[in-house]
Amino acid sequence: MVEENRVILKYRGQIDPESLDDYLSIGGFQALRKALKMRRSEIIGEVNESRLRGRGGAAFWTGFKWESVAVQTRRPKYMICNSDEGEPGTFKDRYVWETVPFQVLEGMIIGAIATGIEYGFVYVRGEYPWIYRRVEKLVNILRDEGYLGSSILGSAYSFDIEVVQGAGAYVCGESSAILESIEGKRGGPRVKPPRTSVVGVFGQPTLVQNVETLANIPLIIKNGGKWYASMGTRSSTGTRIFSISGFVKKPGPYEIELGSATLGEAIQLAGGVDGELKGVIIGGASGYMIPPDFLDMLLTMEDAEKRGISLGSGVIVPFTSEISVVDVVLNTMRFFEHESCGRCTPCRGGTREIVEIIEKLIKGEGTKEHLSLLERWGKTMMNASICGLGKSAPNMLLSSLKYFRNEWESLVG
């Protein structure tokens, strides 16, 4: 029977997350002390050796990202901890904040030291107000205790953090949209290039990292990159916290070593399906709808890619036969319609058009040609949208048309 490998969530429920003493007692800030004595290239070297990939959804190589910001000579440089966690189905970052919040901040400080950054923002989504208050409180504690400020633990490094609260916009989780939001404008993603590592917030080089990614950093520095890479597979090292909800008996966060479990085994870990399994939504609303054939797929980034899907932010939502596929897809497209920033026509127009077509199909006024029209709209959005939202919004629609076509076809004559 597959088990969780709690690396980040090890002390869940065992320590007071807001107590610095508790965190120190489990080895907290040892990594920071170690990092202060290392050279910048050594720190980045450990992260490179760990082969850690971003946990926000894009799975970009973290060490490489750090390097690309470290080499920027323009000052000042900024860092952003992206805690917008808006992807439907995702709640892992919330659990990280509720277990070891200091670990995330420690990871941020280490990242700042390694890349020459002196100011950072933690952007907490507006729907987690208690977490925003907690992070503010902890940042103040760290400042008082000398872990933040003009001289970190007496060293020559300086780093300070400002906590910003979001206000209800999924698109602000996108790495260039979060910059616009912090600058006080509407959170519309930017056209890239230039990349955010070159021109980021306030026009300066910026490093944007997800909460879970940063939570891994102190462990990597403390135990070594090699240790981290010894878990998981070659392309998907370490553990990931999967947000399993839906029709499972024990919904919640499950930290699983990548490659140690298949999709089906992960679902079993969460207590198994409560009813007859029809399919699984994987990756979130911008993820895919897959049939039970995928249960034997190993949970790694490369295995998902091989089968034409992606793990996204680690959402797993099994659903049973009482759920209508078309209804879920319609709900998802309505979500994207609300969340589209409205900047580019493929997304602004596409989300609306797709919703209208699906509504027509449900009313019984659709034809077979509408199904091919949906596919065309989906492909257009994927090719022509400026940002990830528009590009991945049609994923669920297209995968459901591929794997659950009979349900769509039952709506047309």
Binding site: E339, R343, T345, G349, E356
Partner: protein
């Protein structure tokens, strides 16, 4: 289902409601292919071509739009008697095409304009609303174009012979904004229903002008996002400087200028009024480009002048006089080093910019030297109480001026003339040209020269004239959108700063003390790119307007003998030119 129809030939009908019959005619232009088509399908209804016309049909191509109740009845009849209705051509597919231009005015108003006193009988009246076909019936397919190119018609006919049209394919995407009110203003208004959120207006206001009076509001797919001011407030109440660059860049015509045409008509109709047109030659440039077959700008200008006289203007005076009045006055004071006259006042939008964004610089602005103000103080004096003044200018900011009785942009002038039955192209060029009132002769022609700008150049020529020194002018571009012109005189050096990208003024507001004259030009291309012109996205078109004025200026200068030029300038020197200040 479609296969059944192949056994019998598909029945096709080609219809036109109220239209120019262009689409129907275009199909006959298919000539050779038409014979093949006639063999493959059964053309049951094609009024233009055959006398035996029947319903029902399988596919109906319908062109034109619904103008009268009869059209509407016919459209319903066609819809009931066909399987697939295809809207053909711009009038049928989109907003009603050309005919939609009449929907801006009330039906009664138009009726009385065309038919004078004939009563509008409800029974025979056209519909007051102009709507596309899909407002009345379900449309299965849209083929847009005016006219639809022949190759496309062929493509679609052959396509539909084989397969029925797929409903909603190639529909115009519903991205236009709804549920927002118009943003009204004294100078122009924004209709959110037409906006396609291309952001050109927002970008130019934020990045070129540096003001940002408009921005993108709200979020979401479909029709939720719109361009607006703060809570939809009037432009002039907010940061807007009324330069009108948003009007020039909008590709869908969502911005419309305040229409003064009926007001001017009323002024002209009142027999007690003595009406004077202040005509800015720059206004005529875009008129000639867009609507005239005339190629000689000088002649075109003369035709405009005679058209103005034809519809009832008592005098037509060149607005360039106003610029020269202001320039001459300012030149004197800049030569003296007068701090209060440092910033150019000829551009009303630039003055708005100073007032709203850089109020600390107001101490360098003497509002009395504003050209329109200077000219009006002379003219009101000369012509008395019953005189009414109408300014014809490409400048949208002047619409907010209190000095003048009405302001017409080139488009409005065109509308006024054509609705009065005057075709500029067939009017004989006016023999007199501009009226030479108010200012002493001997320098009239000089005052006709349009200071093409930047105005600083003309200012400097006056300075050079007044100082009597050898000409030594140096022009340096400091950066994009910022230029410096330095003139060395006998006893001093005068430095002028010209900012053609107003956003850069942020950087240079501290340096105002280092310069003797500062000019800000918000419109791209100067007045040739004014907001009241016919919009164009091509800088070549704006350049062309400048060349037209250049040619016009050269013509004036070449006609003047050296003697006349010298005399004129001497007169100016002697202050014989009636400076009102």
């Amino acid at each position: 289902m479609w296969g059944d129809f192949m056994k019998e030939k598909t029945r096709v009908g080609i219809f036109g409601l109220t239209c120019c019959a262009g689409e129907e005619l275009n199909i006959t232009n298919l000539e050779e292919e038409l014979v093949d088509i006639a063999e493959m399908v059964d053309i049951k209804n094609y009024l233009m071509v055959q006398s035996n016309n029947e319903l029902p049909v399988d596919i109906a191509f319908v062109a034109g739009f619904v103008a009268t109740p009869e059209d509407r009845k016919r459209l319903y009849e066609i819809r009931e008697n066909c399987k697939y209705l295809i809207a053909l051509g711009s009038c049928a597919t989109s907003c009603g095409g050309i005919h939609n231009m009449r929907s801006r005015y009330a039906l009664e108003e138009q009726y009385s304009e065309v038919y004078d006193n004939v009563k509008l009988e409800k029974e025979f009246a056209p519909l007051s609303e102009v709507k596309p076909l899909d407002y009345y019936v379900d449309v299965d397919y849209y083929i847009r174009g005016c006219p639809v190119p022949e190759e496309e018609i062929l493509y679609y006919i052959f396509k539909f012979i084989r397969n029925p049209p797929v409903k909603n394919e190639l529909l115009p995407v519903n991205i236009q904004t709804g549920n927002y009110d118009e943003v009204r203003g004294m100078a122009f208004s924004l209709d959110p229903k037409k906006c396609v959120v291309c952001r050109r207006c927002v970008n130019i206001c934020q990045k070129h002008i540096g003001v940002g009076a408009i921005d993108i509001i709200s979020r979401g797919g479909g029709a939720r996002v719109v361009v607006s001011t703060f809570f939809g407030d009037s432009f002039e109440n907010r940061e807007c400087i009324l330069c009108g660059q948003c009007l020039t860049v909008c590709p869908v015509g969502a911005y419309s200028v305040r229409n003064d045409v009926s007001q001017v008509r009323d002024i002209l109709d009142d027999p007690d009024n003595f009406v004077i047109a202040l005509l800015d030659p720059m206004a005529c440039t875009s008129m000639m480009q867009h609507f005239s077959r005339e190629e000689n700008f000088h002649l075109f200008l003369r035709r405009v002048i005679s058209s103005l006289r034809e519809i009832g203007f008592d005098k037509v005076i060149s607005f360039t006089y106003a610029y020269h009045l202001s320039l001459i006055h300012q030149a004197r004071h800049v030569l003296k080093g007068d701090e209060q006259e440092k910033i150019a006042t000829w551009c009303p939008a630039a003055i708005n910019l100073i007032r709203k964004k850089y109020p600390s610089l107001l101490k360098f602005v003497n509002m009395e030297t504003e050209p329109l103000h200077m000219l009006m103080s002379i003219l009101r004096n000369d012509f008395g109480k019953n005189a009414k003044f109408v300014l014809i200018t490409p400048c949208v900011a002047y619409k907010n001026s209190g000095e003048i009785d009405a302001v017409l942009t080139p488009r409005e002038l065109r509308h006024l003339l054509s609705s009065s039955g005057v075709d500029i192209d067939i009017m004989a060029p006016d023999k007199v040209g501009f009226d030479r009132e108010c200012l002493p002769s001997g320098m009239m022609e000089i005052m006709n020269i349009y200071p093409l700008g930047p105005l600083a150049e003309s200012l400097l020529s006056y300075i050079h004239l007044f100082s009597g020194s050898e000409e030594n002018i140096q022009r340096v571009q400091i950066e994009k959108g910022v230029e410096e012109i330095v003139i060395r005189l006998k006893n001093s050096t005068k430095r002028t700063l010209i900012i053609t990208e107003p956003r850069k003024m942020d950087k240079y507001q501290e340096s105002v003390k280092d310069y003797d004259y500062i000019e800000i030009v918000p419109c791209i291309g100067g007045c040739a790119g004014g907001g009241g012109h016919y919009p164009t996205s091509s800088f070549d078109v704006i350049q062309e307007r400048r060349s037209m004025i250049d040619e016009y200026n050269n013509r004036i200068v070449s006609k003047l003998s050296r003697w006349a030029l010298t005399r004129a300038y001497e007169n100016i020197l002697k202050e014989g030119f009636r400076c009102p200040l």
